[in-house]
Every structure is written in C-alpha cells, then in structure tokens.
C-alpha cells in the first residue's frame, strides 16, 4: 500500500483529530460513562489505522518506528501493574493489599468521594481507576497500532517481491 488518492488523504487529515479526541474522551471518562481504556484505545488506534490505510504503511513506518511503539506499550503495561502495586506499597502495614484502590476518597488526584444521588458526574473521583484506564489506553493504542502497521508493512513486502 503506497497510499490512496488525494481525496482520501485530505478527508483522513480532517477526520483524524476528531476521532482521536473522541477516543481520548472515552479513555478519560472511563470511570463515569460506558467505555474505558480498551474501548477508547481501540477508537484511537482505529484513527491511526485510518492513517495507515490512507497514507500507506511505508510512509507511516518512516514517521514512527515499530520499536518506539513497543516501548510505549511496555510503559502502559508497567504503569498498570505499578498502580496495582501502589495498593501494597503505600500502606506498608498489614492493611495494604494488591490492587487496593488507595487513591479513592483521599487528598490525591482523582481522590474526591462520589456524592450520594448527585446528577452530575465528577471526573475527579474513583482513585486509581482513571489512572489504570489511562495506562491500559496507552497500551491498547500502541498495541493495536503496531499490529495494524506491521501487518500492512509485511503484506506490502510480500507483494513487492512479486509473489
């Protein structure tokens, strides 16, 4: 795939930021509305896949390397496990437990408690859940993008060799 026509490229350039922002919205509001890390990440990755289809995998490979994406994916995964470990480490007495939500109802980020029977959602709640959503989102974006990119690139190579 060496890219499609000019019309497709232009429309992709216009649509890309909107899809991207919608995906990031789904990731960040994962603890309030349906959705979360995986769903939002899949939306963002589909925006990236759109780029691969419109501009071609070779062009995209020049902009971002498979290696960088794989590091990004590892960082997402490490982030998720580290947030799970925080439940153990911050409370180093016997009350700590793996995956414990230490940031909920505390003074830290995302620490406010949910008001009973409130009709508006407050984004600054739910403790470690939004942080984990962000970590998972990062991993899913990088993972799905690298899958699409590498597959497109590999099939391109097979086609190039004439068989």
């Amino acid at each position: 795939m060496s890219g499609m026509s000019k019309i497709v490229k232009t429309i992709t350039s216009i649509a890309f930021p909107f899809v991207m922002i919608y995906g990031l919205y789904v990731i960040l509001h994962g603890h309030l509305t349906p959705g979360g890390g995986f769903q939002g990440g899949a939306v963002v990755a589909s925006a990236c896949a759109m780029i691969v289809v419109a501009f071609g995998s070779i062009w995209t490979m020049k902009k971002i390397k498979e290696n960088q994406l794989s590091i990004l994916e590892s960082i997402g995964a490490i982030g998720f496990i580290v947030f799970a470990f925080l439940g153990l480490i911050i409370l180093f007495d016997n009350s700590g437990i793996f995956f414990k939500n230490v940031f909920a109802n505390s003074v830290y980020l995302f620490g406010q408690s949910v008001e009973y029977a409130s009709t508006t959602a407050n984004i600054n709640t739910a403790g470690t859940l939004p942080l984990m959503n962000i970590a998972v989102g990062l991993k899913v974006i990088a993972g799905l993008f690298v899958i699409v990119l590498v597959m497109a690139y590999a099939s391109n190579k097979i086609k190039e060799r004439g068989d």
Partner: protein, 528 residues
C-alpha cells in the same frame, strides 16, 4: 526481618503473579541496555518468583488453605454477590505450583546459552515470563473466569513462542495448529463458565461447588469442560497438536509447555473432584462416578497405547519424546480414573477404597515425576540439536564420545521415564501398578507392557544417537556450554533425589495433595 517474611507470605499469592508480569514488561526496556544485564534480570525475577512459590507452598502445607482477595475486602463470600478475584490455594494447587516453580527457572537458565545466537530475545524473554505468569495464575486461581483468562494468556504467549523459529515452515504450522486448538478449547471453557453463571450467579469455584445441583445444564457443562481441558492436556483423541508443538518449539519452551499442559490437567481434576465433587460422590450418584471413571480409564489406556506405538515409529528425536510425553499423561489419567471407579457408598458417606486411595496417590505423584523426566529428555534433545544441529535419529550417531555429561543426563532421563529403579519414575509407577493390580489386573498388564515398550524406544534412541561408530560429520561436536549443563543438572539431581527417598516426598507433599483432592468440603469452607 521476620516481619518482612510474614509480609511476603501474606501477599505471596498476588506477588507470584505480579512479579513475572512486571518483569515481563520491564524486560523490553532493560533489553535496550544489553543482553547480559537482561539475562541476569530475567533470572533474578524468576528466582524471586520461585522463592515466593516455595514460601507459599510451605505455608499451605503447615497452616492449611490460603485465600487472597485482590483489591481488599473480606475473604468470605456472601452467597448473593460472589464476584471478586480470589485466589485459593490448598494442598493440590500448592503441589502443582512446585512444578511451576522448577520448570521456568530451569528453562531460563538453559536459554542463556541455547538461544544466544538468535535475535529478538527481548521478546522471547518477555513471552516466557508472561507464559509463566499465566501458568501460575491458572494454578492458583479460585475463580473459573479467571482461569479462562490465564489460560488464554498462556496460550497466546506459548503460541508465539512455538513459532519462534520463524524461518522454519514446521514451527509456524505447529503454532497455528496450537493456537486454533487453544482458542476453541478456551472458548468452550468460557461457554461452560457462562452456563454456571446463568444458573448459580457465581464465578467462584467454591461457591459453584457448594451450590451445584447437577441439573441437565450442569451435565452439559461437565462434558464441555471435560472436553476442553482434556484437549489442552493432550488426551488422545485430541492430542494432534501436542507432538507438533512440543517437537517444533525451542527445547527451553517445550519444558514450560509441559508445565502448562499439566496445569490444564490440574484444572480438569479440580473440575471433576471439587466443582462436581459434592454431587458426584453422594449416595444417589456413585454410579455417575463409576461411569466417569470408566470413561477416563478408556481414554487413558488409548492415550498410553497410542502414545507408545507412535513413539516407536518416529524418526525425529523431539517428536519421539513428545509422543512419550503423551503416554506419560495417560498414566496419570489412568490412575485417577481407576480411583474414581472405586468409589463406594458406606455408612452414609461416599468413600474411596484403599487401593483407590493409593492409585490416586500414584497418579498425583506421577504428575510431578512426568514433568521432570520428560523435561530432562527434551533438554537433552535440545542439547543434541545445539551441538550437532540435527534431530533426525537416522543421521545422528556416536555422540557419547564428545558429550559425556549430556549422555549421563540422557541415561538418567531414560531410566526415569521408563520406570527403572532407582529413579523417581519407578517410585510413582510402582504405586500405580500395585494399586491397579487390586482394581483390575488387566490394566496393570497394559501399563507395564507399555512401560517396557517405552524403555525399548529410548534404548533405541540411546543406541542411535549416543553409541555407535564415530561419524566424521560429528567429529567437531563439543560438549554444550555450562548454563545448559547446569539446567539439566538441576532437574537430574531432583530426579535422583526423589528416586532415592520417595517416602519423604510422598508423605510430606503428595499425601496432602491427594487429601485436598478428595476433600471438596474443605475447599468450599475456605471461602464460604
């Protein structure tokens, strides 16, 4: 100091899963620094994990059942909302976990030299650690859906590792076969989980085991679970993926694959004895236990016979060992099936006869021995491949002159797998033969005959690979590097130790495991 150890023991069920996972993703970052540091890092991570497993196992054997709830909250479950991620470790889990503590660390030490010349090793080690985490999760979890998730993690990681030799057609083909079989097996497992969830509103094994009423839907779920897990364990009608996967993967991966296969077998035993335990062994359904037992015996005999006869006609070193591994799985299955068929109803409770008890003990003991014996043989096959770059038995020959230590390790493995004294395989097979003779002498005859044939198979291998005239082609062959010898040495020394002192092992480790297997009520009591 004591406080830290207590803290480690308290949180070990979570740490055992979390540390390999964290290590897996850190490996990619650390791999950028240098291969040596990465290898040391992976070994340290795995050593910590093994150490934690041994701490946990020791704690379970002294203090009884352990539970761990992820995210906090009380360990006991009220019957209405039984949804949480819960690990429950009793004697049986702990027993299988010992295997999972030994095999991956041996595989990683072995890989240091074995995989040195290949590229993409960052991802190789990442996948090994992921696979280990998945296997340990399967073993420790007390939740059926969780079991499915860890099964899939293990399958994905191992399929990618089987395809590690990307330039070989056969390994890609084997990996595709493996992933198709695993995906279908896991999806049917999920289907059975959904059947349970629809009826009992629970995913926890203990809660399901407590509420089970053996409706028609439960029978369907039993069939689906049995088929899916037996497929993953390599029982004969569903074994076609196993020789390919074992034979084509790098030898270090095969060793961990044995562990995952045995984890599936553990899942099968857990389903039969714990989840269905309460009903299967009650008064009005001892007939059911007998039916299930006979079915298992038939499958097991077919597995043993086909495994041995297919091993006889193989020309490839690793494929031959793979078929021998299938036959060995048949022995465990045979013992457990025979134990199931001896359930009788006396004085208000279903009890298992003395010979059945012994058969169960032998079968469980054999799980451990099989993992070590077959693992050692695969490591030797890998060493031969590393030194001579050849696995075909027709072309190999005369390697004993140049590879003395490897030959010794092969002889130990040979004796252990075909049940010769003084190796561990003899200890467990003797228990199986003795108990089986009281249940049905015909089964003993088949078992002993197949064991002798297995010996014949491996003597043939020994002759064609290690003995014979020195071939000019292999004159430059050298002994394999130290890391591979150390890995083989660890397994060989455990084999010899268990073979010399089987009683210590049976009394302290196997007996608690068989007791836990038969005692579904205590497993349920750990949570409710």
């Amino acid at each position: 100091m004591n406080g830290v150890v207590d803290w480690l023991i308290l949180h070990s069920p979570a740490l055992i899963i979390a540390i390999p996972l964290l290590g897996a993703f850190l490996t990619i970052l650390i791999g950028k620094i240098g291969p040596r540091i990465r290898n040391v890092f992976v070994i340290i991570i795995m050593a910590i994990t093994s150490f934690l497993i041994l701490l946990l196992v020791n704690d379970v054997f002294t203090n009884g059942i352990r539970t761990y709830v992820f995210g906090g909250g009380s360990t006991s479950i009220e019957s209405s909302y039984a949804i949480r991620i819960l690990f429950e470790i009793d004697g049986l889990n702990a027993f299988i976990a010992i295997i999972a503590a030994i095999l991956p660390i041996v595989a990683i030490i072995y890989s240091w030299a074995f995989m040195k010349e290949h590229t993409g090793l960052d991802k190789y080690y990442t996948l090994i650690l992921l696979m280990t985490a998945g296997m340990l999760g399967m073993i420790l979890t007390g939740d059926l859906f969780n079991f499915f998730v860890f099964l899939e993690i293990t399958s994905i990681a191992s399929a990618a590792l089987i395809a590690f030799y990307l330039d070989k057609q056969n390994s890609i083909q084997a990996a595709f076969k493996y992933i198709v079989i695993s995906a279908i097996g896991a999806l049917f497992l999920l289907f059975a989980v959904a059947l349970f969830y629809g009826q009992y509103n629970a995913l926890n094994m203990a809660v399901i085991a407590n509420n089970i009423s053996f409706t028609f839907i439960d029978k369907i779920a039993l069939v689906v679970l049995f088929a899916a897990l037996a497929m993953k364990a390599g029982i004969v009608p569903m074994h076609m993926w196993l020789p390919d996967a074992y034979g084509r993967a790098p030898a270090s991966i095969t060793v961990i694959l044995i562990g995952t296969t045995l984890a599936s077998l553990y899942g099968l035993f857990r389903v039969i004895f714990t989840i269905y335990g309460k009903y299967l062994f009650s008064f009005d359904s001892t007939q059911m236990a007998l039916t299930l037992g006979v079915l298992i015996i038939i499958l097991a005999v077919v597995t043993i016979v086909i495994g041995v006869f297919m091993a006889l006609k193989q020309n490839d070193f690793k494929r031959m060992i793979a078929f021998a591994a299938i036959a060995e799985i048949g022995y465990m299955f045979l013992a457990v099936g025979a134990a199931l068929s001896t359930y009788t109803f006396e004085r208000g409770a279903a009890i298992i006869s003395a010979s059945g008890q012994m058969a169960l003990k032998g079968g469980i003991f054999h799980i451990f021995n099989d993992a070590l014996d077959v693992g050692l043989l695969f490591l030797v096959a890998g060493a031969v491949y590393y030194a001579a770059k050849e696995t075909s038995l027709n072309k190999l020959g005369g390697l004993a002159r140049n590879m003395k230590y490897t030959t010794v390790f092969f002889l130990i493995g040979l004796a252990a797998v075909s049940g010769l004294p003084p190796m561990n395989g003899f200890a467990s097979k003797l228990i199986i033969y003795q108990s089986m003779f009281q249940i049905n002498p015909l089964l003993t005859i088949v078992a002993i005959l197949c064991s002798i044939l297995l010996l014949a198979v491996f003597v043939k291998v020994f002759y064609s690979v290690f003995l014979g005239p020195k071939l000019p082609k292999f004159s430059g062959v050298k002994e394999v590097p130290k890391s591979m010898l150390i890995a083989m040495g660890i397994i060989a020394s455990i084999i010899v130790f268990i073979g010399l002192f089987p009683n210590i092992f049976v009394e302290n480790i196997v007996t608690p495991a068989t007791n836990a297997l038969q005692n579904a009520t205590s497993y349920i009591g750990g949570v409710l």
